[in-house]
Amino acid sequence: MLEAKGINAFYSRKQVLFDTSISVKEGEKVILIGPNGAGKSTLLKTIVGLLAPTKGQIAFSGEDISSWSPQRRINSGIGYLLQNENIVPGLTVEENLLLGAYPIKGDLLKKRVEEVFEIFGFMKGRLKDRAGFLSGGERQALAVSMVLMKHPRLLLLDEPTAGLAPKAAQNILEHVKKAQDVIGVKAVCLVEHNLKLALEWASKVIVLVQGRVVFTSDTPELFINNPEELEKYFFE
């Protein structure tokens, strides 16, 4: 479904990704892990077009999207959650949702908002609140909802559980599962630091260290009780 091949990416002169390749197939739930600064966020950014790679191809649903604008990539079915600044604090919860849905209008828009209530019930009563006043967990829920509004087929989530208490983090992952049923998301790629939690959820794990994929496994469940086995790659 998603195929990024041989990506090199730079921030001005500093190279962050080195010939990096990942693929996400339909039905897969991938966790992308690695130490801070490994380039996980950068990899997602290049996939949606926020950062132009200097080398490599990106294909989505069999089409080469390397030269597409971020707008075109998102509208073709890739939903992307940024690690930071993933809501607009100065707008209301409702306005944030509408931004996520643009250019959907009318009845369809109403239906999409209802779906969000189905997934995150609390949001119904908070529509008119300023998004900046939400708690950390509520913010992440709103951010994920905004990404779901356009019914993406592929979800790229950059640390949706960052800064959340374990219970709330688990909750978000539960809700991602629920979103897959309600909305029909075909595949998910998640960046996550809470290994245990993510390993229970995932069907595939990719370890990125210093901009290179150092390990991939289709049996994440093997590591649930000994995530150190994966973490040992972090410090090599």
Binding site: Q71, V88, G90
Partner: protein, 293 residues
């Protein structure tokens, strides 16, 4: 008392024009986060386009006004496409954009002065009819300024409140990456910001020039009024910009009454400095979470 009422009436008219200037400037300052000095150039170009259309090509007034606003918009959009956008793409800092903006302003003003001369050009001749409201007097041009200004400013607010793309433009200044990441049409939004900003500058320029004429150097005053109104009122609140503009109009009116209009720029800067010292987020900013500041 009558004098004071007359002053207030005049201030209300000026506030309408200042509000137009503030909205035009604020749109770009808020969504692009850069100090748009070339705004003054758009202001000047719009009115001189009317001068050219009327006095050189002999267009009738209403057509000339259309041409003025259109050329103002064209100038604003072209400046973005040829200078700001390429500079931003190549990773220019806000400082570089500021200098480029200043360069554009100087270039435009000198070109206008070269073609049309430095003296004031009068757009409408003859004596303005005026009306009396009890003991107060208002000219026809003032009525037009008042109506055009307040209708545009309120109408635009109604649009911003309802339109999702406008919300997106509003969000650009706060979370630019998010706006891109959500797949919003960033190119279109940018075009809209520059075009709309130019409409406000152009209309403010025209309703002023039709009243008192235009010279090539008034753009800087217009820029200052717009910028100070926005910063004093609070960058993040639309009605704050209008509040800032109205406050400026009122205080300038008082200054004219007590001293002379030469004090106007001093008043403008005085308010700016006092606000920056005591309430840098602006007089009308709402409360925010501490970490957002």
């Amino acid at each position: 008392m009558i004098l004071l009422s007359q002053l207030l009436l005049n201030a209300l008219v000026n506030a309408a024009i200042f509000s137009l200037l503030a909205v035009g400037f604020g749109l770009i300052y808020r969504s692009m986060r850069f100090f748009y000095i070339a705004y003054g150039a758009v202001y000047v170009i719009a009115s001189y386009a009317v001068v050219a259309a009327m006095q050189i090509s002999g267009f009738p007034l209403y057509l000339s006004i259309g041409a003025g606003v259109f050329l103002g918009v064209l100038a604003g959009v072209l400046m973005d496409r040829t200078v700001y956008l390429p500079l931003e793409r190549s990773g220019a800092t806000p400082g570089v954009l500021l200098i480029a903006s200043l360069g554009l302003y100087i270039l435009a003003v000198n070109a206008v002065a070269l073609i049309f001369g430095n003296e004031v050009k009068i757009l409408s001749r003859g004596i303005e009819p005026s009306f009396s409201l009890g003991p107060l007097v208002i000219t026809r041009m003032q009525v037009i300024q008042f109506l055009v200004g307040w209708i545009l400013v309120t109408g635009f607010w109604l649009i911003i409140r309802k339109n999702t793309l406008m919300k997106g433009i509003w969000a650009m200044g706060e979370t630019p990456n998010l706006v891109t990441a959500l797949g919003l049409p960033c190119g279109l939004m940018r075009l809209l910001v520059f075009a709309l900003s130019s409409v406000f500058a152009g209309v403010a320029s025209l309703v002023t020039a039709l009243d008192v004429g235009i010279d090539p150097h008034v753009g800087m005053h217009a820029l200052l009024i717009g910028a100070v109104a926005v910063i004093v009122g609070g960058v993040d609140v639309y009605w704050g910009w209008i509040g800032g503009a109205s406050l400026l109009a009122l205080l300038q009116g008082m200054a004219v009454w007590q001293f002379s209009s030469r004090w106007n720029d001093l008043i403008t800067f005085g308010i700016l400095i006092i606000t920056l010292l005591f309430r840098p987020q602006g007089l009308f900013s709402p409360r925010k979470r501490r970490e957002e500041r």
